[in-house]
Amino acid sequence: MEFVISFLNTILPVLYFVTTYLYGMYFFRDDPFAEKYMSPMLKVTVSIHLIEIVLRGIYFSHYPLASIAEAFSVIALAAVSIYIYLEFRLKVKTTGYFILVFVFFMQLFSSAFISFTHDIPDILHNPLFSFHSSAAVLGYSGFAISFLYSLMYLLLFHDIKTRRFGVIYSRLPSLEVLSGLNYNSALIGFSCLSLAIVIGTFWSHKIFGSLVNLDPKILVAYATWIIYGLELFGGKIFQWSNKRLAYLSVSGFVFILFSMVAVNLFLTSFHEFK
């Protein structure tokens, strides 16, 4: 069984690479072969990814979020699932390339650094943990997608404003569509993070008897929640332009990345499950 899990984990970056390549061929060259096969290939890849994570969870008897490498794999799966939903809803396929480049690198990192072990802290067996961490991972995946759509928005905005009518202009959907995708994915992220915070607070109260916890990662989560809350609700109240909202989304995700790296590199806390 371990061999099967290890094999699937190894081929996942390869599958994501092929899928990303097909989406790239469609984006840059409008290739009909790529257009025909990219969506089925994506669904096959995501199915294998899901099977791999479920098998890993069952075989090693833990919820598959025991390390950063495992979390990256789940974030990649969640991000790509949100993307598939958006592709299905809006019938826009030209943005897939940008999402999949991100997903490919997340999975590559995960497959390179993952370690298979049965030695898992007890806390990971708590059912509340699975709800809390799933909501948090979905939340951060939503923010990642929102970040990518904001980047696309800013690229297209720049090209239209400066009269560069190249591949970005001809292949990306309209600014309004990109802005909507940014908003919707940020909303998914914000809702999930809110849920993660509520469950986390409840859990913290149960274990530590306190609703307030000043763990660095929790502080990062609060700050992230405020940034995206500002984007989602402040934007409407203060009538900020879509460009400003895109900048806010990009800044929010850059903040998440830097904070997470800093927290994981320099600080230790119960959130690292040591």
Binding site: D30, L156, I160, K161, R163, F165, Y169, S170, P173, S174, L175, E176, V177, G180, Q239, W240, S241, N242, K243, R244
Partner: protein, 422 residues
């Protein structure tokens, strides 16, 4: 039987000559009647647009057909035959078929890949059909040419992207806004390009349309035509905050819209994007307006840049379109080749013989050796008797029978001989 083309287009003749030769759809039937009178011509069609007048005919003895049609056009247009010959081109057989397929796919059009020509050739075919001047050859050829036109448009990007300034403006609007039906537009100046832009926006389902023009009556007329609303030229600034697209087509000597005008509008409209298209020469909008974050201002040069890029993209699709045309020419020639008598008789015999052999083989184990030989003899005799009359009739079709080709085609179709040949 040969397909013959005689024609003139934007490449071979200047507009003055093309105008004289162009036939309206009301004039075409009488011209077709003239062509019918030329000895040797069995079928004919006239395609006449502002950029081309072409005659495709089917004749058993091509001989002097071309010069006869040239003389007919000389009579209609009043141009001396000697002079008109300089502007005409002609082609026969495969060359003529190739030309027609290029025409319906938009490769021969003045604006590469333009879609109207397919409809124009369809109209020409309908008129020829109504005047009983199409037969098996042109019916097949024209329908084949429509397939070519559709294939080229669906399998290549020859018709993709805006190739006119007015359409490029609409394409740009669609890169900013998702749904034009929820957007409103103000057109300043009711000139030709402005009107065309507004018309394209209307076709794309734009919401409210306001028109302001120095001569108010002209704005009223255009507004009535495009289901818009005319507003006084002096009051147009009052609705800047309320519209999403402003088209400047007035070509005024000074800027009609200043930075201050738009800043004032933005203070009322908030951060919603505003798309401004300046197609006036001299320009109508102060270029400084583009510095405002929520405004996208583009002038005619930017739109022309889009047109040039799209035309270049279309040109890159020509080899793909030519490949489709070559494939379809082969298909058509295969069909035409099949219309000969001898191959049809051979194919028909082979088809029935294959059925006989297959049935014998199926029953091989149920019959003794002698029974099998008898079955073989009897079935062969039946087959020969069945085929005797069709063979005699088919040979008659080849000897100048008036509907010979048509009947041959029916025989090939009901016995499925074409599928077998493929």
């Amino acid at each position: 039987m040969e397909i013959i083309l005689l024609g003139t287009n934007h490449r071979t003749a200047e507009v003055k000559f093309r105008e004289q030769l162009a036939l309206s759809s009301d004039d075409v039937p009488s011209a077709l009647e003239e062509i019918k009178k030329i000895p040797g011509i069995q079928e004919g069609i006239i395609v006449s647009t502002c950029n081309r007048t072409e005659v495709y005919t089917v004749a058993s003895e091509p001989g002097k057909i071309v010069s006869s049609i040239e003389n007919m056009f000389a009579r209609i247009s009043g141009i001396e035959p000697e002079e008109s010959r300089r502007y005409f081109y002609n082609a026969r057989g495969q060359e003529a078929i190739h030309h027609l397929f290029r025409v319906t796919s938009g490769l021969d059009s003045m604006i590469l890949g333009e879609p109207q020509i397919l409809g124009q050739v369809k109209d020409a075919y309908r008129i020829a059909n109504e005047n009983n001047f199409t037969g098996i050859m042109l019916n097949r050829l024209l329908n084949h040419s429509f397939t070519v036109g559709k294939r080229v448009r669906s399998e290549t990007a020859l018709g993709a992207g805006a190739v006119s300034v007015a359409y490029a403006a609409v394409e740009l609007a669609q890169k900013i806004f998702r749904d034009l039906s929820r957007r409103s537009v103000l057109l300043i100046g009711a000139g030709e390009t402005g009107e065309l832009t507004a018309r394209h926006l209307r076709e794309k389902g734009i919401g409210r349309l306001f028109i302001a023009n120095r001569t108010h009556q002209k704005a009223e007329n255009l507004a009535a035509d495009l289901q818009g609303k005319a507003i006084e030229f002096s009051q147009m600034r009052e609705i800047f905050h309320d519209v999403d697209i402003i088209v400047g087509a007035a070509s005024a000597p000074d800027y009609l819209v200043s930075l201050a005008d738009i800043e004032k509008a933005i203070s009322k409209r908030g951060a919603r994007p505003l798309f401004m298209i300046d197609i006036g020469v001299p320009r109508d909008f102060d270029p400084q307006i583009n510095k405002l974050e929520s405004v996208f201002l583009h002038d005619i040069d930017a739109l022309q840049q889009i047109v040039d890029l799209n035309l270049e993209k279309r040109r890159l699709e020509i080899p793909k379109a030519e490949a489709i045309i070559s494939e379809e020419i082969r298909n058509f020639l295969e069909w035409k080749e099949g219309l000969r008598i001898a191959p049809t008789i051979v194919s028909l015999r082979q088809k029935l013989e294959d059925i006989r052999q297959a049935e014998l083989k199926k029953n091989r184990n149920k019959l003794s050796e002698s029974e099998f030989e008898k079955a073989d003899l009897i079935s062969r005799a039946i087959l020969n008797k069945i085929l005797h009359m069709p063979t005699v009739q088919l040979k008659k079709f080849g000897n100048g029978h008036p509907e010979g080709l048509l009947r041959l085609d029916v025989v090939r179709e009901i016995f499925g001989l074409e599928e077998d040949d493929e």
